[in-house]
Symmetry: C2
Subunit: 177 residues, 2 copies
């Protein structure tokens, strides 16, 4: 990939992210984005078909890092839900600047939607070892919603709590005795 392309793409995404912290997504114009990125109008449209595609690209880029299965310093049992969640929380902390900007913005709910979809996939996969007396569909929606909101609380609090404690709170709520 050409250096110029990478540079331009990064500039556009950065400008877009900065604008998201100031106003709602639907009120952001392409003109503002390219002004912030210092990029020509036609250049923008050669990179992104539409503003929605830019949103998808940004969300994809952020959550891709968080939900990938690469190794991380976290130690714990693999294949179990608690381990997977700790893994994810660790990645989230590594991406805190990026995530905080979008999840706490006025368009936060938009990104919560993306976030919950990723989480649903995770819970769908890991829910087997988690027998319950409630319907499976209910459980997946419940866990995705509560975990996403837990993470947003964590970020809002400035991540004072450790990822381990967050996972503990969450699992404690889910499986309290």
């Amino acid at each position: 990939m050409d250096r110029r392309q990478k540079k331009t793409r990064r500039a556009i995404l950065a400008s877009f992210r900065a604008l998201l912290e100031k106003k709602r997504y639907e009120h952001i114009t392409v003109q503002e984005i390219i002004d912030g990125a210092d990029v020509g109008r036609s250049t923008f449209y050669s990179h992104f078909e539409t503003k929605d595609m830019l949103l998808d690209a940004l969300a994809g880029e952020i959550f891709q890092h968080i939900f990938e299965d690469d190794p991380c310093p976290w130690v714990g049992k693999d294949g179990e839900l608690e381990g997977k969640l700790s893994h994810i929380l660790w990645h989230i902390r590594a991406e805190r600047e990026n995530l905080a900007g979008v999840l706490l913005s006025d368009s936060g709910e938009l990104f919560m939607g993306y976030f919950k979809n990723h989480l649903k996939a995770v819970f769908t996969q890991y829910i087997d070892n988690f027998t319950q007396d409630v319907p499976r569909g209910f459980l997946i929606e419940y866990l995705s919603g509560s975990f996403a909101e837990t993470v947003r609380w964590w970020i809002k609090e400035g991540m004072k709590t450790s990822p381990e404690d967050v996972a503990k709170y969450f699992m404690g709520m889910v499986n309290r005795k």
Copy 2:
């Protein structure tokens, strides 16, 4: 209020709601709304300052009914969280057509935001009788997110489960032994 005003307002809201089931909020134009409502352009703007105000009005109208404290056939202990939630669930079922249209739409996350804000107020009020070993702020976010998602699941499933069972599932998840 004049009959004409009520009629026009209802027509606009109905048209808006119908459009929300077809496309995302930000792609809906005022032109489409007034075409669907069969109403003049200036009339629209004499009722709603902007499209965002229309969104607020719709959300307000829907959730107002759900969160009001009027009497309902549900019987249970007042002043307790479980009772309050049953009350809310009962109202939700009464408004199912309205709620399903917006919560399951492509703009669902937008309305989930409104929904969660209302829920936060409820949980903030009722959380006292609910001592936990987790931070209060965390608890409120957690419960709002999980309850909102629970309700969306309920609606998506066609509300086959009874409100009582939904409340049971939810409280069971929150306070399992």
